[in-house]
Symmetry: C2
DNA sequence: TTGAAAGCGCTAACAT
DNA sequence: ATGTTAGCGCTTTCAA
């Protein structure tokens, strides 16, 4: 006794409307309905029209689970992130969303909240056909499962992951170059003692930025002073703390480069608390250009990463791998751009040009 | 000619390991394997053991799509949010995650990015068995689909949604009471001119906070001055702008209540830019107690919402509705708590006690 | 306790 | 162009 469409004795609807009901209503076979749903050829305009009307009338909505089971594709993309609280993530996700949306893909979110081991567990789960592909933003433990992903030919793209040497599908930006631009700019303003607050050093992007700093100083014949470098963690409080340290130096920096905007905000805070005027007494430069950067005071000069575009590129690349899993590994590197706002100017006292 | 398990002529594995393979390996029927997977009774310890071993050995992972199709439950919960960039969201999501994780549920994320109409579209989609339940944080357009959800008995819980009067499953906090506490505190410090920056007024929580402000003033016999109220939008730049306005008043406030921490940070910025010392020249109080509140300088006095607990409660309530869809509508209201830190003190000049 | 068998709603190959 | 049929991997009766 099948819980059958149509025949519901009592007043209440017993089940959701299926492809079957639509077929009934339109007076065609349910294969035809399937064809219409999937926009296949070989359906007469007239029947297509009838099916469409029946669908609308019945309020048919496809059961994704069933489509997935039958067709082997879930139209879901897994997204693995550490945490969500920064605009950095939000901007990237916006880009991902946008791209996936046009292709009618959904996003499954897994936040590890810094529980490193969660990453692998989630990856295993997603891989099992729950998702068609996997996007990872700033993964911490990628090495643990990257090989599995590759072997299983499970489509995946990493965002902002730089594994020196490894050939992994990824989207990143010109971290090295971007930092060079920033430091060069500071140098051109006359700064010679430039403080540097790193990001979390386990990330390749953080290392690249530090390297950019060192290389630029060297290029310009400015000696590298290890005292001017503090290790940060990409969080605002750390920027605050590190800059305290930097500003307490016997010979403090006249400018500080923070490896992301959030830490730059911390620097601003510390500077202001010491009664320094910005940017007269201290130039500050960040990295990312999150929306907030344009809204602090003074507005923050920073190295812009095209976050939204990173998300879009990653999603597009992933979609490509989903369509053809054997496509060659691509490593997309998007250009950064120095956005000059108000937070930097020439150094006050020991100015190179000795003015004032 | 079925693409059959086991019999893969060539070297390569043709398919993922299924319940079928496990049954083969363990020498039992696949129904038994299903029983083991679902922790059902009526399986001899010995066979259970064998199945378990086979599963481990083969690295079996269930296909959630199939389980869902067959069993009618997807073990997925949909989460609808506007945007992600604030700790507010992250904290709540952390709580949701935690609870769902223990019950082995996954989270499907839909970010509307302020595109109001997206909400309804997503709700329809999720509803169609893609998810077992739906969680909405601060929905903007809830009225549009709440009735449908109710009629279909689709499990859903709204977070921080206050529809005056409507009986909707939800989790919120004592917005009114929390604001009263904050204003009372400011009053007790001697403040009489207290600026108020509202949240987005379309949200019930924002309205409740404003009401709390008005009620408290009235209770204490302090006349309400409309000039002291500015409409905000829960974003930092707005806090900055609104406080500029407030501080430019002929008779500026000696304290400002911002309807969330983010806007309070904006107030701090504006105050500092004007050369005001905090908290001597201006007391500032926020709402939320996002992690950052403890890390700014001065540390922010604020009305704490138990964000993570809100997430947990909402998830728990949703799980309950999933288990029994006809359970009575519950509206959970969690208590807020005034967290006193450094950003408030008595007013300087026109002090009540006339000291200094 | 265990196995056999019938679907869940759909896609895709195969007929017609 | 359209219909028929065989599964996708699993849960769940129903027998045994």
């Amino acid at each position: 006794m099948k819980k059958n469409p149509g025949s519901n004795g009592a007043g209440q609807r017993t089940h959701d409307v299926t492809i079957f009901d639509v077929a009934d209503e339109a007076g065609v076979s349910y294969a035809t309905v399937s064809r219409v749903i999937n926009n296949k050829d070989h359906v007469s305009p007239e029947k297509r029209e009838r099916v469409l009307r029946a669908m609308a009338q019945l309020g048919y909505v496809a059961n994704e689970q069933a489509r997935s089971l039958a067709g082997g594709t879930s139209r879901v993309v897994g997204l693995l992130v550490d945490y969500l609280s920064t605009s950095y993530m939000d901007e990237i996700i916006r880009g991902i969303d946008e791209t996936l949306d046009t292709e009618d893909y959904d996003l499954m979110l897994y936040t590890t909240h810094r529980r490193k081991t969660k990453e692998s567990a989630y990856v295993t789960k997603l891989t099992r056909k729950l998702a068609d592909g996997l996007l990872l933003i700033l993964p911490r433990n990628a090495a643990a499962y990257l090989e599995t992903l590759r072997q299983r030919q499970f489509p995946h793209v990493l965002i902002d992951y730089l594994s020196d040497g490894q050939n992994v599908p990824s989207v990143s930006t010109t971290n090295f170059r971007g930092t060079c631009d920033a430091i060069t700019y500071l140098l051109s303003l006359g700064h010679r003692r430039i403080g540097f607050i790193t990001g979390t050093m386990e990330f390749g992007c953080a290392r690249d930025r530090l390297n950019g700093y060192k290389a630029t100083l060297k290029d310009h014949g400015v000696p590298f002073d290890p005292q001017l470098v503090c290790e940060g963690d990409f969080q605002q409080p750390c920027g605050y703390l590190d800059s305290q340290k930097l500003l307490s130096l016997p010979e403090p920096p006249t400018a500080i480069f923070a490896s992301n905007d959030l830490m730059a905000f911390g620097v601003m805070e510390a500077a202001r608390e010491r009664g320094l005027h910005l940017p007269e007494d201290l130039s500050i430069i960040g990295f990312d250009d999150i929306p907030q950067a344009a809204h602090v005071h003074p507005t923050l000069t920073t190295v812009r990463q095209p976050l939204e575009e990173m998300g879009r590129s990653a999603a597009r690349l992933l979609l490509k791998y989903i369509a053809q899993p054997t496509a060659a590994v691509e490593r997309i590197e998007l250009p950064t751009e120095l956005i000059i706002r108000e937070s930097c100017q020439g150094p006050r006292a020991r100015s190179i040009n000795g003015s004032q």
